[in-house]
Structure formats: C-alpha cells, structure tokens
C-alpha cells in the first residue's frame, strides 16, 4: 500500500521494478508487460517486444532485435514515471522529455542505468549525443 498523501515537497521516490508491474489492461487478455525501458529514448516495452521488434526509435542505431545482450545492456528494468504520449508535436511533456520525435507509446521519465561506454562512443561516432535519463545530468 502506498502512502495516500500527495506531497510535492520531500518525497521518497520509489523506483518500481518489473516484478510488481503485472497489471493487465483488461481482464482475460494478457497485455505485454511494460518492464524494460530503452536507455536511449526512454521507450518502455516488454523484454519480448524489444527482442522481437526492437526499439521503434533506436533500432537503427542500437539493433535490439534478437540481440539479448544489447537489450540487457541498453535497456533497464528499473525506471520510474510512466508517460503515455500521442506523438503530437504540440505536447510540451514530450518536448520536455525530448521524445517529441519518437513514436507514440510509453516512455519513462527516469531510467536507472547508463549505456555502456563502447555503445556511447559508437553513438557519438554516428553523431548522436547520449543524454543519460537517470537524473544524473541536469541542464
């Protein structure tokens, strides 16, 4: 049971994990679990989605499909703040989270974990700046 108080001041951020995110959308139909977040774009998908379809935004640079190692390294099971965006250009939320050019879907506000250095360098070589989404970078 969570605390019922809505306190915007000193809050204890609870990072939720994949284990507790078992809720289903409708009874009887198993929806894909949202249990991994792409560290680059913040997209939240299930492990199998990453494996089968890859990350809809980052597939061209990270190549998740059928690559368990990359999925393990570049997605995080520990994230917080679930955002569902429509993909509209007028959404400030999407702009603020820097996801306005990405496909509609679920994104995480905060993702624990950083991309490994080699992948970071690889991205840099492709002209992509990696900005960690774990709250360590403030700008």
């Amino acid at each position: 049971m969570r605390h019922p108080v809505h306190s915007s001041g000193q809050t204890r951020t609870q990072i939720y994990t994949s284990a507790e995110d078992m809720s289903t959308l409708k009874r009887g139909r198993q929806t894909p679990k949202l249990n991994r977040a792409c560290m680059l774009c913040g997209m939240v998908q299930s492990m199998s989605q990453f494996r089968n379809e890859g990350c809809p935004n980052c597939e061209s640079v990270l190549h998740f499909q059928d690559n368990e190692d990359v999925i393990r390294e570049c997605t995080s099971p520990t994230f917080e703040g679930l955002v569902a965006v429509r993909g509209s250009s007028s959404s400030w939320v999407a702009r603020w989270l820097r996801i306005e050019n990405f496909v509609p879907g679920f994104y995480a506000v905060r993702i624990v974990g950083k991309l490994p250095d080699d992948i970071k360098n690889d991205l840099y070589a492709q002209g992509i700046e990696y900005r960690p989404r774990d709250g360590s970078v403030q700008d």
Binding site: L25, S91, R98, D134
Partner: protein, 946 residues
C-alpha cells in the same frame, strides 16, 4: 499499377455498354478494363450512342446495371439521375427486363463476373496494405533515423509557456496510477474525440495522482469518462505552469545515491533482509557488488534432506525462511565437508571461490541487481555491524558511517541529563571528557570538562556542545536503563565498556545486551531489592539534625541519598540520620499559593521556574516533596515551596470544586447565615441525622422549587430524592427548606432548632402546651451547659451561653407565635417582639443591621444574633471566616484538633495574624476580627448597640 488505375464503376459501365452490343459483350466480359485501347474504344462507342434515343440508353443502362449491380444500388442511381415523369414506365420495363433474360446470358457467366470483381477488389486492398506495410517498415526507419532533434537544445529553452497545453492532476485510486495511464493511453489511440489529449503520465513520488496534458478541460473529462479508479468528485487540479518541470524531474537531488560503503539490504533470496555493504558499483548502475556475511552450511544439509517423491537426496535450495545462520566463510570447513566445490583462485589466503561465489576475508562478495536491494533508510543494527566488524581488528566500526546511517533515526529518544558523563566525539573539543551541567534546549548541552589527562588545562572549563556530538560515558558497574532501540526499557548492570559498545547484564533476562552508550541512561529506578535498610526506607522523611529535614530518595547499601528541604542532595550513612519522621497523614496539609488546601497525593505544578508538575509525596511545613515521572534527576523527586505551586488535581477532595476563594462568602452581609457551625455540630452529635425522611423543598440552585424527601444525610449534604425528576441528588442542607407541616417550610437551621426544641419539649414536659413547651425546653436546653459542653471551653467560658440562651429564648416564643416559624412572617411581625423584651427591642427598634439583613431568609436570624449579642456575634464572625475555606474549618471551631491548629498559629489561615495570641481574649474586638470588620457592618452596628 493496373489494378490501382482501374475504376470499378467505370468497368461496370463498360461492361454494360458491351452488353448492349450482342457478341461483343461475351468476348470482352472477362478482361474488363485490362486495356487502354479498349477503354478508348468504348468511350467512343458511348459517345455515339448518346446521340441516339435517350430512353433507350437508359434502358440499356438499366438492363446492364441490373445484371451487374445490386438492385438497391440500381435504385439509388435511378433516383439520382432519372426524371420523375418516366419513373413508372422504367420500373415496369426493368421488371420485365429482369424476367426476360437473354438466353445467351447464363447463370455461370454471371457468377464468374462476380468472382472477378471480388478478386479485383481484394487485389486492390492488398496493394494498399502492402504499401502501408512497406511504408511502415522502411519509410519510418528511413525518416526516423534516431531523431533526437532537440537533444542539443538546453532544457531551459524548453520551459513551458502559456501556449503550451495545460496539465491537470487527477486524483485516482492509490496504486492504480500506472494501470490508468495504460488505460488512458489505449483510449488515446482508439477513442474518438481524444485528439486534444496529448499525454498522460504518473510519477511514483506523487501517489494517488495521474497527470493529463490537454488543451481543454472537457477533453480530459471525455477521456476519463466512466473509467474506474478515478475520483471524480475530488476535482481536477490545474498544475501551475511553473511547476511543470518539477512534475517531470528525473530524480530528486535529495535521494541518496549509492556509493561504495553505503549500507544496503537484500530484498529477495537467501540473503533477504541481510545487511550488506556496497563494495563497488557496476558501470551501468544496474548491478552492485555487495559485501555480505555468508550463510553457508558447506553442503552438510544435503545429507539430511531426502526428497520423499524420488527417495533421493536433493540439493537444498535455501530461501529467506530456511537458511543457515550468518557466519563468516571458513575455508577449513569448506575443505572438510565440501572440498570439491572449493577452488582457491589466488594463493592469497583470504581469497576463495566456493560454489562459484567469491569469498574475500570471510565475506561473500556478490553482484546483486540494483532492484533487488533496499537502499533507502537502511539502519544497521549493532549486531550486524559487529558481524562485519568481527573479522578485522584494525578496521573498527566506522563511526562516521554509522552516524550518517543513523541520522534519520529518532535522535530525540537519546536524552542527556545533568551529571551525565560524556565524551565529545566531534568538533574542536573532540575526545574531551566531561560532565553535563545543564541542557538548554535539548540539543545544546553545557559541558564541564574534567578528567582529561592529556590536556589537563582544559579541565574545569565549560563548553557548549550540541548533543549530537556527545557520547555518554559509562563505567562498568553502572546501573542503566536502555531508552532506545530493540532493548528499550531493559535495565541492567554494565559489565563491559569497549569503544562505542556497552555490554550490560539485563535485570530482566539476565542476559548480556550490547547497546550504544547513547541509548542508555543511568537507571532511574532505584534498586527494588534494597528499598529498606534498617530503620529507614525509601521515600521516608528523616531528621538529619535538629533543623534539617530530608527525604530518602535512593537507598543503597549502607548509604542513603537524601534530598533536603533546601534542594541539596546528600549521601549519608544510616548512622548519621537522627531519626525518621513520622507524619500523620491528616496533618500533612498546607495551602498553595491560592490558599487552597493541598495534601499528600495532590498534584500540583510550579507556577514559577521550570513549572514542574508532580505528586505530593510529603509536606513538611511549607516544603513540598514532589515526585514527577518526567523529571529524571534525583529519581524524579524534587522539593519546592508551597507558595509557588498551584493545585492541579486534588485527591478525593470536595474542595476541588472551586479554585479561588469565593469572596461572596467572605462578606457576612452578602452571606446567608453561616451554616450554623455549632448547630450543625449538634446535629451531628445527635446520632441519626434528624433530617432524614423529611420532606423538603429546594430553595437554591438548579432544582430550586422542587420537592423531595431526604433519603440520606451526611454532614451538610443531604441526598434528596426528588419527586420530579425521580432521582436522588445530593444537595446542601442549607439550600433546603424543610416542611414542618404541610405547606410550611423553614430553613435548615430553624428546622434544627425547632426539631430539637420540640423533641426536648415533648420529651421532658409532655403536659405543657407546645408553645410553652418549646419555650421552656429551649430555655432548659439553652441554660444547660449540656449542648455547649461539647464545645470548647473557651467558647463556653466566654460568657456567651447566657446570652445565647436568652437570645434563643427570646426567639423561641416568636416562632411559637407565628406558628409556622416562617421567617418572613416572623420578621415582619412586629408584635412578635412583645413577648420578650429582647426581641421587642430588636424588632421594634428595627435596627439597621436587622433591616439590612432583612432581605434574606435567614439573615434576620443572624442579624439578630450578631446585633444583639456581641459575644455571640463575635463568635460567629471568626468561626464564619474560618468557614470560608471549607467544611474543615467547622472542625477547627468545634473540634479539639482545630483548636490545636488554631493555637499553633503558624500554619492556618490565622497563621499570618499577629493577633494569634490575642484571640483568646475577646473575639469581638480583637484585631483579628477587625480584619474582618471592614466588610461586616453588622459587627460595627453591634458595637453601636452596645
């Protein structure tokens, strides 16, 4: 593509046209619209035909349409194009047409055409979908080659403006936030009219809320409509624009990030709940290398567990419920029991790999996923820290990290008291020892440095130190109580003090307890076994010498700790105590600063100083020995002066009903007759209370006017059973009117007199008339010293008896004359005085005093007494004044004890008066009475009378 170019309708038209010309239709029917040439040709054909009869063309069209189109569609077209005039004809024709099918047109060819059309349609759809698929597959990835376009724009430029959509906070059921985000997201994709909702999100730090980004409120309402888990009646909060970034901040800065050395707890698995120390962090922050105390049994339990189903041994999977105890890794045991799993990777003697896990220095080093660790608010217990500490002597408990970890712990529980020995653990005076003098604000202590051998020059200086940087110092042998932690409230004797750990033997369990010294206080409980030694016992008042009194607050073997009346604490041997003081509980009384009586057991509070509150344990003169549970020093006992305390609660006292002296009662003029002290006393002497079973009427208070019967009486208070409401209520007798005979009521005093007189008269002279009898009997009783005999000699020796009796005698007939003894009639009845001279002079003269008191019911009586008989009045005044402080004073007057107190003269109300010695001389004119004179004109008048 051919399929895409083809217009089905046109194809149908072509067919229809073809059909018009026999022979051609069957040929071209199958490859409709395949060829551009064909198309052109047919167009021309159509043009030609247009010139011809219009009706026939339509007919053809009808005909063709009939064959290739649905009937309904045909009708539709008809309505669109046709004129109304020939509507009827056409319909007839087309019906006829339908039946007169051309013989060449077979059912088979028709179905062929139909099949062709559907196939064509499917082809067309497939192509569309294919295009979409291609677009989705290649088009997106080509265009979205990781479009982090705003990545290089500073977030400051992304700050929200008024043009941006609004964000509403919606109250939802706790715990349903994520699910609702998902549901709303599904609605955003599928539901119509939700275009204006741009995003929806939740944050774990804002439980019970989801946030919806939209332009307009009704869009939010629309998307939320009939969603379970939304609290609609709470209303939606429009988040202020400036707070938008806070809603989506990635992490709060307060959140402590794990560092090597941080304490964590394992959340799942065999080591669940165990404390770990972070050794290192994995590069991607997802795994943590944690140092743990292993739980190993070296495979021994494998032998004992036999799977019942297979009958074979199976390896035990330990879990959080069933697991070996925490113990450091022992390579010897591993060698002995489970050697095949032990590999020594390095020749370093402390590094082992056992069952694929690393053990360094006896500890397990294990990579654990971040989400399997509890990282917040981890408070290691001393036991756990000791486990980690046990291996290395050099590496003691890091006090800094302990302190940092315990920062969130409840530090208020750690209390320091004056005289605690402390050591300063941080700051400039670090490592200095001293003694606490006082604690100003619970967080800052004044410490007198002493006992420092290294830098002895700082000794005897007083420093102010925050209590957070103090550590208590205890010595083996101290008796302490644990005030915080798991062992809270246990007490025991310290057997060992080492660094920051204190070992004590619990009084309760007789076991060793290890605690931090700051969790201890010197025991407040005096040792229960030795509360009495020889003649003296705990909390007894003792005489130390001729002028020194104290109370024993602590009993130790052969030494008493005694709190003296001046507040000093002495440690004395039993032989230096002169004697024990035995107080009579009844005499241990004094008054507080408001003049209220206080006695042992009452709760009082200081009005000045620390405003301590406590139970009175003993009263010695004006010194109160109080006990408070909130005071730690001197085992909670302190001494204070009775003039500086205020009564909080009385123990079983009636007096507690009023807090301040009632000034009205001090004024004899405003006061109804004193509740006739001696009469009441007399009443008491008479055995059974004569008021019992009397019919009464209440003349005062909330029950005024109600009637009842006295069921029980005790002193001044009668328990009256009211007629309505039917219940028994305690009422002061003076507030009652007694029914002598139906319809006639007299006040209590009069009732008593009457009752006494009547009884006496009837008893002694049954032959006399009631009036004479009463008169005589009263004279008799009055003249006889018998009722007075019970009184004090001074009172009777004062020569009042005659006057009183004459007075009473004078009055008695007037009562008789008036029959009912009704006060008003008696007072108004001037001729009543004729009977007796004394009465006559009084009544006839109508002295001012009498008049002035005439308003009341009894005053006439009292003024009579006061005005006429000085001695009587004089008597009354002091007795009345002493009455002011309560019922107890009646005994002061009547009883011997009161006299004693009176005579003692230094503690009673009278104590302050210099006239104490003069009291015996003459009541009426003593300065004492003079004090009371001012508000009592009757006394003055009395003097005039004389």
């Amino acid at each position: 593509m051919a399929a895409a170019d083809t217009d089905p309708k046109r194809a149908v038209e072509n067919e229809g046209a073809d059909e018009d010309r026999p022979g051609e239709g069957s040929l071209e029917g199958d490859d409709v619209g395949d060829d551009d040439d064909d198309d052109d040709e047919e167009d021309e054909d159509e043009d030609d035909e247009e010139d011809e009869d219009e009706v026939s063309r339509r007919r053809k069209k009808k005909k063709s349409g009939n064959q290739f189109l649905d009937v309904e569609a045909e009708v539709d077209e008809d309505e669109d194009e046709d004129e109304d005039e020939d509507d009827e004809i056409l319909r007839q024709e087309f019906l006829a047409d339908d039946q007169n099918m051309e013989p060449g047109e077979t059912e088979a060819s028709r179905s062929h055409r139909k099949l062709d059309r559907t196939r064509e349609k499917l082809d067309e759809q497939d192509a569309q979908a294919l295009a979409d698929q291609f677009k989705a597959r290649y088009g997106r990835s080509a265009s979205a080659r990781y479009m982090g376009s705003t990545q290089n724009i500073s977030q400051r430029l992304l700050l929200p403006s008024v043009e941006d959509p609004l964000i509403w906070g919606v109250r939802v059921r706790n715990g349903k936030e994520k699910e609702l985000v998902k549901q709303i997201s599904a609605r955003m994709a599928n539901m119509k009219g939700t275009q204006e909702v741009y995003s929806v999100f939740q944050r774990d730090s804002f439980t019970g809320y989801i946030y919806i980004e939209a332009v307009r409120m009704d869009a939010v309402n629309h998307i939320l409509s009939s969603l379970p888990g939304i609290y609609n009646n709470v209303g939606k909060v429009l988040v202020p624009i400036e707070e938008y970034p806070d809603l989506l901040r990635p992490g709060s800065s307060q959140e402590s990030r794990l560092k090597p050395g941080s304490y964590v707890r394992v959340k799942i698995g065999k080591y669940k709940g165990d404390l770990g120390i972070v050794d290192n962090l994995a590069e991607n922050d997802l795994e943590v290398r944690v140092k743990l105390v292993p739980r190993l049994d070296y495979g021994r339990s494998n032998n004992s567990i036999i799977d019942p189903s297979t009958g074979r041994r199976r390896p035990v999977n330990f879990n959080s419920k069933f697991r070996p105890p925490q113990r450091l890794f022992s390579d010897i045991e591993a060698q002995q029991y489970d050697a095949e799993h032990l590999t020594t990777a390095k020749r370093d003697r402390n590094y082992f790999i056992y069952r694929n896990e690393e053990y360094i220095g006896g500890f397990l080093y294990k990579d654990i996923k971040f989400n399997q660790l509890e990282t917040q608010n981890v408070k290691p217990t001393l036991h756990e820290l000791t486990l980690f500490d046990s291996m290395k002597d050099s590496d003691g408990i890091d006090l800094q990290s302990v302190a940092a970890t315990l920062k969130n712990a409840d530090e208020k529980a750690i209390s320091f008291q004056p005289n605690d020995r402390v050591e300063i653990i941080s700051g400039e005076q670090s490592k200095m020892k001293g003694k606490i003098l006082s604690i100003a604000e619970a967080t800052v202590a004044r410490v007198l440095l002493e006992g420092n051998e290294i830098e002895s020059d700082v000794n005897n200086t007083i420093v102010e130190v925050p209590t957070s940087s103090l550590r208590k110092v205890f010595l083996p042998g101290d008796h302490v109580t644990v005030i915080h932690g798991v062992h809270k409230d246990e007490s025991g004797l310290i057997v060992n003090v080492k660094n920051n750990q204190v070992t004590l033997v619990s009084d309760q369990t007789k076991k060793d307890i290890m605690v931090f010294p700051n969790y201890l206080v010197t025991s407040v409980d005096s040792s229960t076994t030795s509360s009495k030694i020889g003649r003296f016992e705990l909390h007894q008042m003792v005489n130390l010498n001729s002028h020194k009194i104290g109370m024993i607050i602590k009993v130790e073997k052969e030494v008493f700790t005694i709190l003296c009346t001046d507040g000093r604490v002495l440690n004395l041997e039993p032989k230096s105590i002169v004697s024990a003081l035995d107080f009579n509980r009844m005499t241990e009384k004094t008054t507080d600063r408001n003049g209220l009586e206080i006695k042992v057991g009452d709760v009082v509070r200081e009005t000045i100083g620390e405003k301590r509150q406590g139970n009175i344990m003993h009263i010695y003169k004006s010194f109160l020995f109080l006990h408070s549970k909130t005071v730690y020093e001197n085992t909670g006992v302190f001494v204070t002066d009775s003039n500086s305390v205020q009564t909080i609660a009385n123990k079983g006292s009636i007096v507690s009903s009023f807090k301040v002296p009632d000034l009205n009662k001090m004024n004899p003029n405003r006061m109804p007759a004193p509740p006739s002290t001696f009469l009441a006393n007399q009443a008491r002497f008479g055995g059974r209370d004569m008021t019992i079973n009397q019919h009464v009427s209440v003349r005062k208070g909330p029950y005024k006017g109600k009637k009842g019967i006295i069921k029980d009486a005790n002193g001044d208070v009668a328990r009256v059973e009211m007629h309505n409401p039917a219940k028994i209520i305690p009422i002061n007798k003076s507030d009652l009117l007694f029914e002598l005979r139906p319809g006639s009521y007299v006040p209590h005093e009069q009732f008593l007199e009457n009752y006494r007189g009547r009884n006496a008269g009837f008893n002694r002279r049954p032959q006399s008339t009631p009036r004479a009898g009463a008169f005589n009997s009263f004279n008799n009783s009055g003249s006889q010293p018998q009722p007075m005999g019970d009184k004090t000699p001074s009172w009777s020796s004062g020569g009042k008896t005659p006057s009183w009796s004459s007075n009473g005698g004078g009055r008695t007939p007037s009562w008789g004359a008036n029959g009912g003894g009704k006060t008003p009639s008696w007072s108004s009845n001037g001729n009543g005085g004729d009977k007796t001279p004394s009465w006559g002079s009084n009544g006839g003269g109508k002295t001012p005093s009498w008049n002035s008191n005439g308003g009341g019911k009894t005053p006439s009586w009292s003024s009579n007494g006061g005005g006429k008989t000085p001695s009587y009045g004089g008597n009354k005044t002091p007795s009345w004044s002493s009455n002011g402080s309560g019922s107890g004073s009646r005994s002061v007057w009547g009883g011997d004890g009161g006299r004693t107190e009176y005579g003692a003269g230094d503690r009673s109300v009278w104590g302050g008066d210099s006239s104490a010695t003069k009291n015996g001389v003459d009541w009426g004119v003593t300065p004492t009475v003079g004090d009371w004179d001012a508000p009592t004109p009757s006394v003055v008048k009395k003097e005039q009378h004389e």
